[in-house]
């Protein structure tokens, strides 16, 4: 199967290592990975902040770039959530029947990495080795928009050498919320405080998730506290082996 990597602008710019890890895992599964250079941003930040007319050209671009692929995979629950759950609303706002049709057709083929591996490829053991104590934060959009369920946990439990520990009150939002983290910084930080407390309770050395945006928020808080806990995207754990 030939899949397209939808890297997301956030990972492309800030977390290239997550993109490299995603490519590695997908290739290890025997897939051929394409990276269409014409991709930029899915429009989530604009759309969710209310700049929706501005997001419509980005929706059109996404559809144009990815519509011919059998599967599109991204290491981000929230960007995939944007495509799957909100592109229809954007097409409605654009009053464009053709776009709506294309969006509906494409959105069934766009996957978040963990659900692609577990639900589409039916793989849980990707041959990873990661000898660290790890806890997992299920990001809200993976959990409630995409309903990835236990897919990330199944993948993590199959990693050799891992010391996996459940995060207390895991389903609670970390407080990131995109521009919420800046517009409502005080509330965002109050929510983060409780999330950090739960992460620290696990005594994990690594907190992982399927979204680098939430992880940047959690990691930024941990780093400020000199907590000695790293944040690492799930793809990077899955890409790790004995060799590297």
């Amino acid at each position: 199967m030939r899949v397209a990597l939808f890297i997301t602008c956030f990972n492309d710019t800030l977390f290239p290592e997550t993109g490299r890890a995603t490519v590695e895992v997908l290739e290890r599964m025997g897939l051929e990975v394409d990276f269409p250079f014409e991709q930029t941003c899915c429009g989530q930040m604009h759309f969710n902040t209310g700049y929706q007319r501005e997001a419509i050209p980005l929706v059109r671009r996404f559809v144009r770039v990815f519509k011919d692929y059998e599967a599109v995979v991204a290491p981000s629950g929230s960007c995939v959530g944007m495509v799957r759950e909100l592109y229809q609303m954007a097409a409605g706002l654009a009053n464009d029947e053709q776009l709506l049709h294309e969006v509906e057709e494409l959105s069934t083929r766009v996957f978040e990495l963990s659900e692609f591996l577990v639900k589409k490829l039916r793989v849980t053991d990707v041959g990873a080795y990661y000898p660290h104590r790890v806890t997992y934060h299920p990001t809200c959009h993976s959990l409630r928009m995409l309903k990835v369920g236990d897919a990330p946990l199944e993948l993590l439990r199959a990693v050799r050498g891992i010391d996996f520990v459940e995060l207390p009150e895991a389903r609670e939002c970390c407080g990131f919320g995109g521009t919420f983290a800046i517009k409502n910084a005080d509330t965002s930080i109050a929510m983060l405080g409780d999330k950090l407390r739960h992460v620290l309770e696990t005594e994990a050395e690594v907190c992982t998730a399927g979204d680098n945006s939430c992880l940047m928020h959690i990691g930024g808080g941990l780093k400020r506290q000199r907590a000695g806990v790293a944040t690492v995207h799930l793809a990077q754990i899955l890409a790790s082996t004995e060799e590297r």
Binding site: T49, I182, N184, L192
Partner: protein, 490 residues
């Protein structure tokens, strides 16, 4: 604890504060944080187990959603049917375009009976219209009889929760309030003792009042049966003891047939108080001789609801049965409390209902759709499946479009708008986008210290107040792909 009196909310004239300003104050109130955290976490756990007992919960939600959807689609017909059936049962129906008209009608009825005191229960709609203040100006005193609402009234505060209006207060605070306001000499902070003092105070009011006033949870179009759902029995007394009863109801509270209660009487108690069955559910159809009030008035109020109905995405907001499950699970509400919303409807439902009822373009209530991380916990628990995140996003769009289209230069020169336009332009072209990545990498050097950014300028400082920021790395993903995989498909 600082007093929570608010002179003005979204439903009053004049300016209301922005959510983020009020939230900052509430977040600093340690007693409030403790009271709210404890209360919402406990009710959240209880709701979750009450719902888990029901094997057909999802079907019930689906039924509740379908019924409400049908009501909204044929609201005009159902309203006329309700008017007819209430009138047939001996009640009087009044129509109110807005809060002011509703207040005038209600005060008029009280005055026609020379009532100087009104006992009142379970009506958030009357908080929307500021009925108590209106009656006061007409020389009529309204006594709240729901225990929590009585507490709020005695403290001269506003409600901070739809169902548990005094959720922000603990029992020792309530004890102090009763000692001060109800002229009792001695009182413990035991809930039974506190309730007893309130009971003695209220019984006298119930027996003396000529006019009782209530809100309504539902009204059946088919039979004209109005329903109040409560836990104390004070609502029962309010609606049965005084000879005249006036009920104020938003036009969206209608349900088609008596049988539809089957669905809502299962959905509501488990979602709101985590009870299998509601303790006091009062139904009445018009008047009955020798039983209950001799005169019944139903005031049907629009007050912005038909505007909500006209909005295809927003109209699902009117499905709300005021259970408060969304408040109890909301991570924002749990920390800021209800007062931060500056609205009689707080929490996630308030964040979508209030801006629609008062209209987009008001600075205070325009901040409410942003009082959410879009985590979706509210949608997950809503018994009538209101997709709150979807409506929040839809309203954010309306707020921004209003700013851009109606506020001229000021709206367009807003720094956020300028930044968003620039980014939209950048993302419209892969070349511009890649150049911007490079420019940002170079531009960040004065901010970056030993592998982290500790301080950002301007509004972005909100991030670095408590969080470090990772600097942009040397090589973007696409640059890596180009140098390692190029020739394949770039």
């Amino acid at each position: 604890m600082t007093p929570k009196t608010r002179a003005s909310d979204a439903f009053s004239e004049g300016k209301t504060p922005h959510f983020e300003e009020s939230a900052r104050e509430s977040l600093a109130d340690t007693q409030l944080r403790r009271n709210l955290g404890k209360a919402t976490q406990s009710i959240r756990r209880r709701r979750s187990s009450a719902v888990a007992e029901m094997p057909d919960w999802e079907e019930l939600r689906e039924a509740g959603y379908a019924l409400k959807k049908r009501v909204m689609r044929h609201l005009d017909e159902y309203l006329l049917r309700l008017e007819e059936s209430v009138t047939r049962a001996g009640g009087h129906v009044h129509w109110a375009r807005d809060g002011e008209e509703a207040n005038r009608i209600i005060a008029g009825i009280a005055k026609s009976h020379d009532a100087r005191e009104v006992v009142k229960v379970k009506s958030i709609a009357s908080d929307e219209t500021k009925l108590n203040e209106h009656l006061e100006r007409e020389g009529i005193r309204a006594f709240e009889t729901d225990l929590a609402e009585l507490i709020i009234q005695l403290a001269d505060e506003t409600s901070s929760h739809i169902l548990v209006p005094a959720i922000h207060k603990n029992r020792s605070e309530i004890r102090e309030l009763f000692l001060r306001e109800l002229a009792v000499e001695e009182l413990s902070d035991d809930p039974p003792d506190l309730t007893n003092v309130a009971r003695l105070y209220l019984r006298e009011k119930f027996l003396k009042a000529k006019v009782g006033f209530s809100g309504a949870n539902f009204a059946v179009a088919e039979t004209g049966t109005v329903c109040v759902v409560e836990s104390e029995g004070n609502g029962r007394m309010c609606t049965t003891l005084p000879p005249v009863l006036v009920t104020l109801m938003g036009i969206e509270k209608i349900i088609p047939t008596w049988r539809d209660y089957e669905v809502f009487m299962q959905l509501l108690p488990r979602s709101s108080t985590a009870e299998r069955m509601n303790p006091y559910t009062t139904f009445w159809s018009g008047v009955s001789e020798g039983d209950g009030p001799e005169e019944f008035h139903l005031v049907l109020m629009d007050n912005g609801r038909t505007d909500v109905l006209a909005d295809e995405i927003g109209r699902q907001t009117l499905n709300c049965i005021r259970c408060s499950a969304c408040l109890n699970v909301c991570p924002v509400y749990e920390r800021t409390g209800g007062h931060a919303y500056n609205s009689v409807y707080p929490g996630p439902i308030g964040a979508i209902l209030t801006p629609q009822l008062v209209g987009i373009g008001r600075p205070g209530s325009d901040t409410l759709p942003y009082a959410s991380t879009l985590c979706g916990a509210c949608y997950e628990v809503c018994p009538v499946k209101i997709n709150i995140p979807e409506v929040l996003i839809h309203l954010r769009g309306k707020v921004v479009r209003h700013k851009q289209d109606k506020e001229g230069f000021k709206g367009r020169l807003d720094p956020e708008n300028v930044a968003m336009q620039a980014m939209a332009k950048t993302f419209s072209n892969p070349k511009l986008y890649e150049n911007a990545q490079k420019a940002a990498r170079v531009g960040q050097w004065p901010l970056s210290r030993s592998g982290a950014i500790h301080r950002l300028p301007g509004r972005l400082a909100g991030w670095t107040d408590a969080r470090d920021l990772k600097p942009i790395p040397e090589q973007s993903f696409r640059e890596w792909w180009r140098s390692n995989r190029d020739g394949r498909n770039s």
